[in-house]
């Protein structure tokens, strides 16, 4: 078991750590928007770290390139999906919290419409 395998396992362990953080956040956070914020962690950081770890574990040129491409697709598309879901649910006024201290997005959207 060489140093490369140990590094790969460490990176994959980091991915599992972020997934656990996401699960805790999904249970503990109060409403839709903070839960979307928590689930974005597993969508981006955990998936990308896992693909990097698997690419190091496999360590063949073409296979590793393909796995890193999958990670790149995750890195591009998943924040996009989170953004689209959060924006759509805000514009449709789904579960807007009653008690809030700051709401900068409504000002941004009204400026966008004028």
């Amino acid at each position: 078991m060489g140093l490369r395998i140990i590094i790969a396992y460490l990176i994959m362990g980091g991915a599992i750590l972020f997934a656990v953080i996401t699960a805790v956040g999904l249970i503990r956070f109060p409403d839709v928007y903070t839960r979307i914020h928590a689930s974005a962690v597993v969508l981006t950081i955990s998936a990308v770290l896992l693909s990097i770890g698997v690419a190091i574990y496999v360590w063949q040129f073409y296979l590793s390139i393909k796995i890193l491409l999958v990670g790149l697709i995750f890195l591009i598309t998943n924040p996009l999906a989170t953004h689209a879901i959060a924006r759509a649910s805000y514009r449709r006024k789904i579960a807007i919290p009653q008690v809030k201290s700051i709401d900068e997005y409504s000002g941004y959207l009204s400026r966008d419409q004028e």
């Binding site: 591009i76 598309t77 996009l80 953004h83 689209a84 924006r87 759509a88 514009r91 449709r92």
Partner: protein, 240 residues
């Protein structure tokens, strides 16, 4: 009346069961491996069809007539859904999602198209084929409808274009089958044109062309189904 119906149902079921029971002893014994059909396929499929993917070899060579029936089922489903959900006016949405989503999918869509063409073209070498790659082709049209608004998809790829693509895919399939009659005497027999060694891209005779036809047919058919469904539900209203 209903009693007669019940009696006739029982009679039909009993006669069906009798027929199936009589045919039960015609099922080949699974221990006779050396004479069985899967023994033949696992030993001779690469030599006979040139396709490394045995599933593709069975679907598009040994049982290509069956696959033609399956793609005709898709055609029937598309026709039925379009007939049920057709409307004269087209309420379309032209807003789409936000700027970030539009730009990113503008960059990603060529790669999605490339991936679907890769899956269709390597159908006889790797997992995948016409059906799977065609679904990804149809997903491009669905992405256009959701991200850019259905007006964009309607202007760029009109229903006439999609119908043309679907029909040309089906015609390519049937045309290859008819050429097979002229070439070697049976419908959908494997044409031995473009036959390099098994494992290269232009091998396996007519299987890549059938894959291409099925890919276009499935992709355009799914796009037509999705478009005729969102005609019903989308209205011109505020963007998301």
């Amino acid at each position: 009346m209903s009693k007669l119906k019940h009696i006739s149902i029982v009679i039909i079921l009993a006669s069906l069961g009798l027929v199936m029971l009589l045919d039960l002893n015609k099922i080949p014994n699974q221990f006779e491996y050396a004479n069985s059909i899967y023994h033949h396929i696992t030993n001779n499929a690469v030599g006979e069809t040139g396709s490394l993917n045995f599933v593709t070899a069975i679907l598009y060579d040994y049982r290509a007539y069956d696959s033609m029936g399956e793609s005709t089922i898709i055609f029937g489903a598309v026709s039925g859904i379009v007939l049920l959900l057709s409307r004269k006016t087209l309420p379309v949405s032209s807003h789409g999602l936000s700027f970030i989503v539009k730009r990113t999918y503008g960059m990603l869509t060529p790669f999605i198209f490339l991936f679907s063409v890769y899956i269709i073209a390597h159908g006889h070498l790797s997992p995948g084929g016409g059906f799977q790659g065609g679904v990804i082709l149809g997903a491009i049209s669905i992405i256009f409808s959701i991200v850019y608004g259905s007006e964009f998809d309607y202007k760029r790829y009109t229903p006439t274009t999609k119908t043309l693509l679907e029909t040309s895919g089906a015609l390519l399939f049937i045309g290859i089958g008819l050429i097979g009659i002229i070439y070697s005497g049976s419908f959908l027999s494997n044409l031995n044109i473009l036959n390099s060694e098994p494992g290269s891209l232009l091998s396996a005779g007519s299987i890549p062309f059938i894959n291409l036809g099925i890919g276009f047919k499935i992709g355009a058919g799914l796009a037509i189904i999705f478009y005729s469904m969102i005609q019903k539900t989308f209205k011109e209203e505020a963007s998301l």
